[in-house]
């Protein structure tokens, strides 16, 4: 049975166009400009086709377009397969498919493409707003599916609801979706995906030249959020260590990569703090943590320097739980490491080296730090986001001429001088501080990025933050207060709500939005295997996943049962209709008499059958049949009354009815 040319109705086309537009929104941020031109061209062409001005493009045009689009994507992505290139390819495929949509099959293909485009879109953006737009897109695509299926050769039957069934299917499907979402096992990635986003993720750089961190300080982007489960650190303890820069080449500090990694990374000693971090994608492996950190998770490794690192670069939001002792680990440094932490390039910054020799060699590390701090605080050093430009011997120029710098300058100079004195030293980069939300969690933003120094006292690494000596406000109150007078806080973002924290209602609104985002991240985006286990344990009281599977199977069974119940209930309603039950009774009576009446036999036919098989009831049956026709088909007469008559008649069908001439006589005992 072949269906006659099912067309795509205008309503379906419109829904499809809207759905496609919605699915393109998450891709807008990275699409090359020529794709916008293509989309305009495609929409224009398809509209003209719809208006009957031009015809669908032929095979040659379409083939050429596909080839050109492929070349353009390969070229504009720099010949590198990235998530963006794959996304652009999908978008181009969907756009070109628009030019073909004339039959139902094309429309179905395009709808499937929309679903996959939305999937890809969620890889780029996962905020609440993005999810809401995605929801609308899916709704439109589902409605388009309904419209496309319901329309025949003559188009969509007028008055046929399209949006309502789509909406009801989506609503009805929610419970089972939630069951699957919460109970479907969260596997580790089956294979490492080659396609990753090339989007420049805001992250700490792997190296640091003086002034580098200042660029991050202009970004109000979220770095990570922390919820403390145990312990509440002081603000001055909030040094989020991310990277150790131990090699200095005269200009930049970088990671020598000589630190070894080990796993599992359990913390040594009693953990003062336990906290959960939800880290924004960085494209790097570092996981910020407080000093003395450790974790039980197998995917997390710890370096000799006590830093936590993820197994692979973080391209999606990542949630991890850390325990910290708050104290640096006691350790030994071997000769190789000592050399590394003391190494300075020859002939650089001679004045600083000379100044270092003024410090007596038998100074303890603590005393050295105090002395240096005093030097910074008692002399005219400034903490600024607009440091002076420094030349070749930049540390010399900074320490003795410019004296204006950002944390990177102070950290870099301090580590240099310490090494020159003979104290093993390293630069640490990460974040400092954060904003406590009234709900009790800490938000750390990119402008909280910071650099400080760790000095080796022979037993352990001591934290020394020279910036604290120059600008205590930076440590106690954050960057905004520290540069308040200068007015350089977020100068690149004049409208950022973070600049208007002074306006009370605006600030409360901002905090509310952040709160919403926080719970969204915590419960939706970072729902992973660990959280699933917690959920199973705490909410459903299950010990392990095996029990979870029983619950999954059980809830599927319950839902199936509920659906059957609904079906039965509806059927029962139908059966309750008086005529139907009378019809059933009639049939049963016939069967009991051995008169075979098929199930599908209509009421009129049934009565005709009775009339022929039971001559005694012939006239009455024919009369009733007429009444049935009148009531059911001509709409004259009362259904209930007819049902009552039929029921009374049905009771007369009983053994002996074949023989008697009139039913009435049979009723009376003689």
């Amino acid at each position: 049975m072949a269906e006659l040319s099912p067309s795509v109705p205008p309503r379906g086309l419109l829904l499809l166009a809207l759905a496609l537009t919605g699915a393109l929104i998450p891709h807008i941020s990275y699409l090359p400009a020529w794709l916008y031109a293509l989309s305009l061209l495609v929409v224009g062409w398809r509209t003209l086709v719809w208006l009957g001005r031009v015809r669908f493009p032929g095979k040659i045009v379409r083939g050429t377009a596909v080839v050109l689009a492929t070349i353009a994507i390969v070229e504009s992505s720099g010949r590198q397969m990235s998530l963006e290139a794959a996304g652009a390819f999908l978008v181009a495929a969907a756009l070109l498919k628009v030019l073909e949509v004339s039959r139902r099959r094309d429309a179905v293909v395009l709808i499937y493409l929309v679903f996959f485009l939305q999937t890809a879109g969620f890889l780029f953006h996962q905020g609440i707003g993005d999810a809401a737009i995605g929801l609308v897109t899916i709704f439109l695509a589902v409605a388009a599916m309904v419209a496309v299926q319901a329309s025949g050769a003559k188009g969509l039957p007028s008055g046929l609801p399209v949006l309502k069934p789509a909406l009801s299917v989506m609503l009805v499907s929610i419970p089972f979706m939630l069951v699957l979402y919460f109970l479907f096992p969260r596997f580790a990635p089956l294979w490492s995906v080659a396609l990753q986003s090339e989007k420049t993720l805001t992250a700490l750089a792997e190296q640091m030249a003086p002034g580098d961190i200042a660029s991050l300080s202009q970004s109000s982007g979220l770095a990570f959020r922390v919820t403390f489960e145990r312990g509440q650190p002081q603000r001055s303890e909030l040094y989020w260590r991310a990277m150790i820069l131990d090699h200095y080449d005269g200009r930049t500090w970088r990671d020598s990569g000589k630190e070894r990694e080990s796993s599992p990374a359990r913390p040594a000693g009693d953990a003062r703090f336990q906290y959960e971090v939800i880290l924004e994608p960085t494209g790097q492996r570092y996981l910020p943590s407080l000093v003395g950190a450790g974790s039980d998770e197998g995917r997390i490794r710890r370096t000799d320097a006590g830093l936590l690192r993820h197994r692979s670069p973080v391209y999606q939001k990542l949630r991890y739980v850390v325990r910290s002792t708050g104290m640096a680990v006691m350790a030994d440094l071997d000769d190789e490491a000592l050399q590394r932490y003391l190494h300075l390039p020859e002939g650089m910054n001679p004045r600083s080296v000379e100044w270092a020799s003024e410090f007596t060699q038998d100074l303890s590390v603590r005393e050295f730090a105090e002395k240096l701090a005093l030097h910074f605080s008692s002399n005219a050093y400034f903490y600024t986001l607009k440091p002076s430009r420094y030349g070749r011997n930049d540390i010399d120029e900074f320490l003795f001429e410019g004296r204006r710098g950002f944390c990177a300058h102070y950290a870099s100079a301090t580590a240099f001088v310490a090494r020159a004195v003979g104290i093993p030293a390293r630069v640490v980069t990460g974040y400092q501080g954060g904003e406590w939300h009234p709900d009790g969690y800490l938000t750390v933003r990119q402008y909280d990025a910071h650099a400080w120094v760790e000095l080796w006292d022979g037993e352990r690494w001591l934290v020394f933050d020279p910036t604290a000596a120059v600008s205590p406000l930076r440590i106690e109150h954050g960057l905004e207060r520290a540069v308040e007078e200068e007015g350089t806080f977020l100068t690149d973002q004049p409208l950022s709500p973070l600049r208007f924290r002074g306006i009370d209602w605006l600030n409360r609104l901002r905090l509310e939005m952040e709160s919403l985002n926080y719970y969204w991240n915590r419960w939706v985006l970072s729902y992973d295997g660990r959280r699933q286990n917690e959920f199973l344990r705490n909410w459903l009281g299950l010990k392990d996943f095996a029990e979870g599977l029983y619950v999954l199977a059980g809830s599927i069974a319950v839902m199936f049962g509920l659906a059957m119940l609904v079906l039965w209930w509806r059927q029962r309603e139908e059966a309750d209709r008086p005529l139907v039950s009378a019809w059933k009774l009639l049939r049963e009576r016939c069967e009991s008499l051995g008169v075979e009446a098929p199930e599908g036999l209509a009421l009129g036919q049934l009565l005709a059958l009775i009339a022929t098989r039971l001559p005694a009831l012939h006239s009455e049956a024919m009369e009733l049949r007429h009444a049935v026709d009148q009531t059911l088909y001509a709409g004259a007469g009362d259904e209930k009354l007819l049902a009552r008559k039929l029921r009374r008649f049905a009771l007369r069908i009983r053994p002996g009815a074949e023989a008697t001439a009139a039913g009435n006589i049979n009723k009376r005992p003689i």
Binding site: M1, A2, E3, L4, P6, R104, V108, Y112, F115, F116, T119, A120, F122, L123, Q126, A131, G134, I138, M145, V146, V148, Q149, A150, S151, G152, A153, K154, P157, G159, L160, P161, P165, A166, V169, M170, S173, I174, F176, M177, L180, Y181, F184, R186, P189, L190, W191, Y315, Q316, V524, L525, Y527, D528, A563, E574, P598, E599, G600, L601, A602, Q605
Partner: protein
């Protein structure tokens, strides 16, 4: 052989499960459902989406995938429900000659809920979608090319739907009884009338009468010979036209089975059918004589129908 046996077995099973009747209501007893081709492709799409969710550890993609899974399961039920509860009733089909197309009227009605995207027809035939609105019965006519004379025993009609998402195909094999008689295919052999000597009742079965005179042009009727068709007039109008000849009014003749000895049964019936048409056309009284059946000479539409039915249903020899 085995296949035929199997399909035969299937047919018998179907007859037991969904017995032929004049009217029928679809329910879980007679509706079947399976994923459609588009449904299988959709399943592949869902697998791709699930792999994306797992490999990118993306909660929103998980949610979207599970929602679509859940929706497609719901759509299975909806597709089934789109057929279930549908009432079908066979309408009155007009008789026709074997080889012609008979239109089988089918009345679809439903008590609650729209039923969209319905396809009703014989397997292999092109069909159009229909929609049924609650409380309004929808009539469709299913064309069927007839082959044999007799009571029409149509194959089962297949009622299909893929509404709402096209992911599942639900169908039912509907056997409806159409009490319609298909007349034998007319085989033109000119009816010639002559006053017979042998038959005392009057005219012989096959005789030559007065030569018919051309009297005009009329619409083509089934059974008209090619020679009768007025090609020039037909070309000028939309439909076929035939030349009409008039013979003497009031004659009586017998259309006799025995006049066609030596021919096959079906051929004889076909020729007799054509003669009935010609005699009625010519306006003469005609009787039909078959072994075991004799219809007294008469004329008029009723008589013609009776003769044609007799020829259609005749089962002797």
């Amino acid at each position: 052989m085995k296949r035929r046996w199997r399909s035969e077995r299937f047919r018998r099973w179907l007859d037991r499960r969904v017995p032929p009747a004049a009217a029928l209501a679809l329910s879980h007893r007679n509706v079947f459902i399976l994923p459609s081709a588009a449904g299988w492709v959709f399943a592949l799409l869902l697998i791709a989406m699930l792999l994306t969710a797992i490999n990118y550890q993306n909660s929103l993609v998980y949610a979207l995938t599970f929602w679509l899974v859940s929706m497609s399961l719901a759509s299975m039920w909806l597709t089934f429900r789109n057929l279930a509860g549908l009432h079908l009733r066979a309408g009155h089909a007009e008789s026709c000659f074997a080889g012609e197309t008979v239109f089988l009227p089918l009345r679809l009605s439903v008590k609650t809920g729209w039923r969209a995207g319905l396809l009703a027809g014989f397997p292999g035939d092109p069909v159009e979608q229909t929609t049924v609105v609650p409380g309004v019965s929808q009539d469709i006519r299913i064309p069927l090319t007839t082959r044999e004379r007799g009571v029409l025993r149509p194959r089962r009609i297949k009622l299909t739907t893929r509404y709402p998402f096209g992911l599942f195909t639900a169908w039912s094999w509907v056997a409806l009884e159409y009490p319609v008689v298909i007349y034998p295919r007319p085989e033109h052999l000119p009816l010639r009338l002559s006053s017979g000597a042998e038959d005392p009742e009057g005219e012989s079965a096959r005789g030559v009468g007065s030569d018919p005179e051309f009297s005009g042009i009329r619409d083509y009727r089934p059974g008209d010979s090619m020679k009768l068709i007025a090609w020039k007039h037909s070309a000028a109008s939309d439909s076929l036209k035939s030349k009409e000849y008039e013979t003497e009014e009031g004659g009586t003749c017998w259309l006799d089975w025995e006049a066609l000895t030596g021919e096959t049964t079906e051929y004889r019936l076909s020729v007799l059918t054509s003669w009935v048409l010609q005699a009625e056309e010519a306006g003469i009284r005609y009787g039909l004589s078959l072994p075991d059946v004799v219809l007294e000479p008469s004329r008029g539409e009723q008589h013609q129908t009776r003769c044609l039915r007799t020829l259609a249903l005749w089962e002797g020899r």
